[in-house]
């Protein structure tokens, strides 16, 4: 396991929310790995658990949610340590959160505090995680702001966030996330609130900085266009499970899971002629009433009767391409008998 280049390995992660109405299985057995220096895109519709997954990596799952089981092995100084076992309020995770793994949030308007200057907020992170003096931290902050191409950084460092436009705020967020040279950057819908031309600027910037620092990027989005622009690898999520994972070209040009295929058919293609869109029938089921068997079976055009009975497991189709669908499982019969026995 230490032979490969994985920065993060996740096995059977389960995060459940214990609400008054019942248990919501927001993440229900996720296996994944993030490779050093690569971009992994986590795609899915709202409520599929993509944001909760990355919150779990930082130990910031909100109540009443809890990590129920699973391992999250993170490479620190060539050792794999299990984040899932750490106390979310303890010292250990604080050494990782914000330093080794940092995060950019969706809303650049609400994720910066309006009460502190931009410089103050970035410096806080530097002072907390490195032994830098205030003067050094300030200089580093100005250098960082310059790096994310904020004009006149020495002046802007003392400005409050409301003086900045959405794109500029997101740049400041990126500067903050990079302040301690993280090995992994999690970006949760960082460009969703931005206009297309600003989005293009921010995506370019992120890829450039990733190349420069060699960090892994875990990019969460629902926008398949953005995925196609930046991803090395893609993981598609549906109702708390990863249903397909492959490199970007395979996902877009040879998708195998019916959900991935349906998702791609339902988006308007800009370079093609107008034709009727092919939406996915029905709706995402209520979190309290998940279907039996495969989660996607009520909406799946290729559903078989067995799909209502058996939960598919990850099947490897080719190296690096895995899919969780019974269409590709050869030993369904054996499994079915095994479960009944």
């Amino acid at each position: 396991m230490t032979e490969n280049n994985n920065l993060l390995e996740v096995y059977d992660l389960k995060v459940h929310f214990f609400t008054d109405e019942g248990v919501v299985k927001a993440i229900d057995g996720v296996d994944m790995n993030v490779v050093n220096g690569k971009t992994l895109c986590l795609v899915g519709e709202s409520g599929c658990g993509k944001s909760v997954t990355c919150r779990a990596f930082l130990g910031i799952v909100q109540k009443p949610g809890r990590i129920v089981s699973g391992q999250m092995l993170f490479r620190q100084n060539d050792r794999m340590i299990d984040i899932a076992k750490m106390d979310p309020k303890g010292q250990e995770i604080r050494q990782i959160r914000g330093k080794e793994i940092s995060m950019i949030f969706q809303e650049p308007m609400t994720s910066l505090s309006p009460m502190y200057t931009v410089g103050n907020q970035i410096m806080e992170n530097i002072l907390l995680h490195t032994g830098a003096s205030k003067q050094e931290a300030r200089e580093r902050t100005i250098a960082l702001l310059d790096q994310v191409r904020i004009p006149k950084p020495e002046r802007l460092v003392d400005e409050y966030p409301f003086r900045l436009s959405g794109g500029m705020r997101q740049r400041a967020m990126i500067a903050m996330a990079l302040s301690c040279n993280p090995t992994m950057l999690i970006a949760d819908e960082p460009t969703t609130a931005l206009d297309v031309t600003t989005q293009a600027q921010i995506l370019d910037l992120m890829l450039e900085l990733q190349y420069k620092y060699g960090m892994a990027l875990l990019f969460i989005t629902h926008d398949l266009g953005v995925v196609a622009e930046i991803a090395d690898e893609v993981a598609v999520m549906y109702l708390g499970k990863i249903v397909e994972r492959a490199d970007a070209d395979t996902i877009f040009n040879h998708p195998q899971h019916p959900y991935t295929q349906a998702l791609l058919r339902s988006i308007p293609k800009i370079a093609m002629r107008r034709e009727e869109l092919d939406p996915i029938k029905g709706m995402v089921p209520s979190p309290f009433r998940r279907p039996t068997g495969c989660n996607f079976n009520p909406r799946c055009p290729k559903a078989m009767s067995v799909c209502r009975e058996i939960v598919p497991s990850m099947t490897q189709l080719s190296p690096g391409h895995t899919v969780a669908c019974l269409l590709y499982e050869s030993n369904i019969k054996n499994r079915k008998e095994g479960e009944q026995a």
Binding site: V196, A228, N253, L263
Partner: protein
């Protein structure tokens, strides 16, 4: 009030001369005053829509695109007369082929047109009153316009609900019982119930997930065919616009920069801003990554209360020349339904959207 603009002469290029035009907007201006201090001293104007001219043909879907703050929502709201424009004409041809200017009408006189021009809103959560039932929400416009009796209204609402793909039994439920996609269907039903001729859809699918978005887009196309509707589709999402629109209007800082057919605007843009916008669109195939370089626009969108002189786009335009900072370009007819506001539209060779 010295800056108050005066009514200008209608530009001959865009007169309501085509027989099939349903709505024509001429030199529309919507200025919002900026005030300061205790006595609300006037400081200046935010020119949200500045000399906007466009026309909508009967039965077509016209797309209105641009980035946030470009004034596309303002234009939509002026057309449904949620705002009273500062200046300009909104010529509307009613069912009897009579042309009326909606812009100067007051609350009372605009009333008969409210049922003919309807709106669908962006956010399916905040646009429905949580304390009204589905019946109350949808029938409100019928009640206000005193169009029919109670029992007629019930039949009408049930029929409309069916047409937008909801079960008529839901009529007594409250909005919280519905998902985002279903709520948007209620919003569509509310717009449809008065038998409108023009619907202004302001970012109607932007808040929806991709699978639901496709359902709503298909529904809107189906309703357009069945009810003989005309749409003004306001959106920032260029792939949605490409899918649903016949023609597209591109706006930048309160001005129309280009109008063309869907295919033309994407493949053959003539304004440098449109070109930059097209190159920024993420193409949903990784194989398109290396096809053509993305244009990075320098700087930020101009401030609509203090725009640069000449062409508003010139500080960010890579083709800008001296003339661009001095003269404001007008929207010119280039033939083939293509209108551009750029001094050098003929000389520039611009590239369209990247292909996979």
């Amino acid at each position: 009030m010295t800056e108050q603009p005066t009514q200008e002469v209608v530009q001959p290029a865009l007169e309501m001369r085509l027989p099939d035009t349903l709505l024509e907007v001429n030199n529309l201006k919507m200025y919002f005053p900026i005030t300061e201090g205790l006595f609300a001293r006037l400081k200046g104007y935010t020119k949200a829509a500045d000399d906007v001219s466009l026309f909508i043909r009967k039965g077509e879907t016209l797309g209105l695109v641009g980035e946030s703050g470009c004034g596309k929502t303002t234009v939509g709201r002026c057309i449904v007369r949620a705002y009273t424009p500062t200046a300009g004409q909104i010529l509307y041809k009613n069912a009897d082929d009579k042309i009326v200017d909606l812009a100067p009408l007051d609350r009372k006189t605009v009333q008969p047109y409210r049922k003919e021009i309807r709106m669908i809103f962006q956010d399916p959560y905040s646009s429905l009153n949580p304390r009204m039932t589905v019946f109350d929400i949808i029938s409100e416009a019928l009640k206000v316009n005193k169009l029919m009796s109670q029992s007629e209204m019930e039949d009408r609402v049930e029929y409309i609900l069916q047409r937008v793909g909801l079960r008529p039994e839901y009529i007594k439920r409250y909005p919280h019982a519905f998902s985002g996609g279903e709520r948007q269907r209620i919003g569509i039903a509310r717009a449809l119930v008065t038998n409108p001729r023009l619907i202004v859809a302001d970012e109607a699918v932007s808040a929806l997930d991709v699978s639901i978005r496709a359902q709503i887009l298909n529904l809107m196309e189906e309703l357009q065919r069945d009810f003989d509707l005309t749409y003004l589709f306001v959106s920032h999402d260029l792939s949605v616009i490409r899918h649903i629109c016949n023609r597209v209007v591109v706006m930048y800082v309160g001005k129309v920069v280009e109008i063309a057919t869907g295919l033309d605007i994407y493949m053959n843009p003539k304004h440098p801003y449109t070109e930059a916008l097209m190159s920024a669109v993420p193409v949903s195939n990784p194989r398109a990554r290396d096809k053509g370089a993305r244009i990075r626009l320098p700087g930020e969108v101009a401030d609509p209360s203090n725009p640069p002189p000449g062409c508003y786009f010139h500080p960010r335009c890579r083709y800008a020349k001296e003339q661009c900072s001095a003269e404001t370009p007008v929207l010119r007819d280039m033939g083939n339904d293509h209108f551009v506001a750029c001094h050098f539209a003929e000389e520039l060779t611009l590239t369209g959207v990247r292909m996979a």
